[in-house]
């Protein structure tokens, strides 16, 4: 996801002061000894600031993956050492910590970045400094760079299934509400495309800056446009008030909602059940997936982080699984060095993980994965439909790293 943070002096000073009084930098004190006994990896995630609801579960997931691999004997006979950087939802810290991770900590691979903006800040740094990079958030697709692996779900995997499913269920007239920056806008474009392809109609479309909390007049406009359902691409804490105001107006029982962002911060756990009941979701992973691999994972995870852990989100699972992909690459290559690991991963590594079969597509460095549609009911998600092994067709339409291994572009895909 991309977020262009709107920094004014006041909020800037506030966030820096807030950070100073809260956690600050965790574990950034790089140790001086050479890493002969361990293989270091870095995690760069927002553990404080506006995006912390997304970042914290991802950090728990990467910690857990590293602990599991270490407990099973480590990699190539060495333990993995996780170096954690809290990027504090602050765009300036990403390039700084990315450089530190490489130059000071000499990590073998880096994992993290939440918004597309943060990824685009770090990607050139890791490429220049020859350090392998994993980006594990759902995003708008189109990154084409041999040094990065994107394990998140893209629109061709998601909206291509989600939008037609909702149209079959509820009808052909859609009203889109999206966050006002490129992730929201590009996702809204994809929604329009899949709506049109299936003979539907967009009867309204509104974009909201991330700090908008008042949706009163929008709720009236929606009632005027009479859509069959609403597709939301709302992002962040402020936008949650839409779901509250929608329910307060009594509309939650009248016009159904489908959302591409709901639950990525575990929102269904702290909004009231009647505010989220019936929302249709589409992700690679839900905690509720009824597979032996997922059940076993959750049992281990809850033993480590407590039975009352709020929710293992889509982004957390992608982060957890990306560590396993990387570890498999290292095993296959017999070294943690960048180029051999990239070549090993490009040989088509495929693992059975909690979210199902997770395979690297060598052409795009994206992941071929199962897609599931679910619906929220009383803070739980009922899985309604599964689409096995979907490719990131949006990215593969513009990106072929086999033919152009030197490509280094973030393609904005024309819809």
């Amino acid at each position: 996801m991309t977020i262009m943070t709107n920094i004014n002096r006041r909020s800037f000073l506030k966030s820096s002061a807030g950070a100073a009084t809260s956690l600050g930098l965790i574990g950034a004190g790089g140790k001086a000894f050479a890493s002969d006994e361990t293989i270091r990896i870095a995690s760069l995630l927002d553990l404080s600031g506006g995006l912390d609801a997304l970042g914290k579960p991802m950090q728990d997931a990467i910690t857990f993956a590293v602990e599991e691999i270490n407990a099973a004997g480590g990699l190539l006979g060495k333990q993995i050492e996780l170096v954690t950087y809290d990027t504090q939802s602050d765009m300036r810290l990403y390039p700084q910590y990315a450089q530190q991770a490489v130059m000071k900590d000499k990590v073998a691979a880096a994992f993290g970045g939440i918004t597309s903006a943060s990824r685009e800040v770090m990607r050139p740094v890791f490429r220049r400094l020859n350090t392998l990079y994993f980006y594990n958030t759902q995003y708008e697709g189109g990154v084409c760079d041999r040094n990065i692996f994107c394990t998140g779900i893209t629109p061709a995997q998601k909206q291509s299934k989600h939008v037609p499913y909702a149209m079959n269920k509820w009808g052909k007239k859609i009203y889109t509400l999206a966050a006002d920056y490129n992730y929201g806008q590009i996702t809204a474009d994809w929604t329009r495309k899949y709506c049109m392809d299936n003979g539907g109609q967009i009867v309204g479309q509104d974009f909201f800056p991330l700090d908008v909390t008042n949706f009163g007049s929008t709720i009236q406009k929606i009632q005027e446009a009479k859509p069959d359902f609403i597709y939301t691409v709302l992002v962040g804490g402020a936008h949650q008030s839409f779901y509250r105001q929608w329910a307060a107006a009594g509309m939650n029982t009248r016009i159904p909602l489908a959302s591409t962002t709901m639950t990525i911060g575990g929102e269904q756990k702290f909004l009231a059940p009647e505010e989220t009941n019936g929302i249709l979701l589409c992700f690679n992973y839900f905690e509720e997936l009824d597979t032996p691999a997922n059940k076993a994972f959750l049992e281990r995870f809850h033993k480590r982080f407590g039975a009352d852990y709020p929710y293992v989100t889509e982004l957390a699972m992608a982060t957890y699984q990306s560590v396993y992909l990387w570890a498999e690459g290292v095993k296959k290559a017999g070294t943690a060095e960048r180029m051999p690991v990239i070549e090993a991963l490009e040989s088509g590594i495929s693992l059975d993980l909690p979210s199902g079969k997770f395979s690297i597509d060598p052409q795009t460095h994206h992941v071929i994965m199962d897609i599931n549609i679910g619906q929220i009911q009383d803070r739980k998600i009922n899985i309604l439909e599964s689409y096995p092994q979907q490719h990131s067709l949006d990215t593969s339409a513009v990106c072929d790293l086999k033919k152009n291994p030197d490509d280094n572009t973030m393609y904005v895909i024309k819809v």
């Binding site: 009236q220 962040g236 509250r244």
Partner: protein, 288 residues
């Protein structure tokens, strides 16, 4: 027709919200001449007080309408006694101090509650108007705003405290010579202003949800309303709220919330260009 009714209720709600979030500042800035940059954080604290109390099982009306203003009024009095009282008559230092205070309050609430959005559901269900549905809470906000303004007017107009407060603000030395204790009056008035901010924060919490940094979203609007309103505390706040709230809501309906906010700011700039003293400074000079 029903659309018009629904839109009018929404516009009234926008006006009432603006008036509520500004009135505490209007008293602290308008009467005491204290530029309180921590006003948004007072609202935020009111929101947290309401949410924490409601989640602890206290009735939502008690927590938003009684506990939220009470808690913030007490915090306000403590802040007045420890920080503000040393800075009367020094507007620049006051700005710096209250800005620092605002950063401190954001930091401390982040440490306690974390930087995630907390919220409670709006009470009172929904209303049907023809083919449209609106939250009954919108109407309740309008009623609360009317009640609050009537109460403030009555207190400052008819009670002994109101008389003493107004005279102390006009001439503290003379008031002191007549046996009034100005520091106590300042503390009480600051406490009332803070309490009103807390009330507004509590009332808005079910609509917007609360994060430690939400104050930034309120403080600019509150200052624009108070300055646009001019010297008369109540009449000014009401007239500026009606003007800005209606413009914001109508433009938002016709376009998007972004353009609505832009229109509000543009209206404020134009207003202050032609009426540098604000609405009440230009029209009713003798309004109170």
């Amino acid at each position: 027709m029903d659309l018009l009714v629904v839109l009018s209720i929404e516009a009234l709600r926008a006006v009432a919200s603006l008036a509520l979030i500004s009135v505490g500042l209007a008293i602290i800035f308008g009467m005491m001449r204290v530029i309180n940059l921590a006003h948004g954080e007072f609202l935020m604290l009111g929101g947290y007080a309401a949410i924490v109390a409601t989640k602890a099982g206290i009735n939502i009306w008690v927590s938003t309408l009684i506990l939220a203003p009470l808690v913030v009024a007490i915090i306000g009095i403590i802040i007045e006694r420890t920080v503000i009282r040393f800075l009367y008559g020094r507007p620049r230092d006051t700005m710096l101090a209250t800005w620092g205070l605002s950063l401190f309050l954001v930091g401390i609430t982040t440490t306690i509650f974390g930087n995630t959005t907390e919220g409670i559901s709006a009470p009172a269900g929904s209303l049907q108007v023809g083919n449209y549905y609106i939250a009954a809470y919108s109407l309740i906000i309008v009623l609360i705003a009317i009640a609050v303004f009537a109460a403030i007017w009555a207190v400052f107009r008819f009670t002994r405290y109101g008389l003493i407060a107004r005279s102390t603000m006009q001439n503290p030395e003379m008031a002191a010579a007549l046996g009034v204790n100005p520091p106590a009056v300042y503390a009480a008035t600051f406490g009332i202003g803070a309490g009103l901010a807390g009330l507004a924060g509590g009332v808005m919490a079910p609509i917007t949800g609360i994060v430690p940094t939400i104050g930034a979203a309120y403080v600019a609007k509150a200052f624009i309303t108070v300055i646009g309103g001019g010297p008369a505390v109540l009449a000014g706040t009401v007239s500026a709220s009606v003007l800005f709230g209606a413009i914001d809501q109508i433009i938002t309906y016709l376009s998007t919330p972004v353009i609505g906010e832009v229109a509000l700011l543009a209206a404020a700039v134009i207003l202050l260009r032609f009426m540098p003293q604000g609405v009440t400074g230009s029209f009713f000079r003798r309004a109170s």
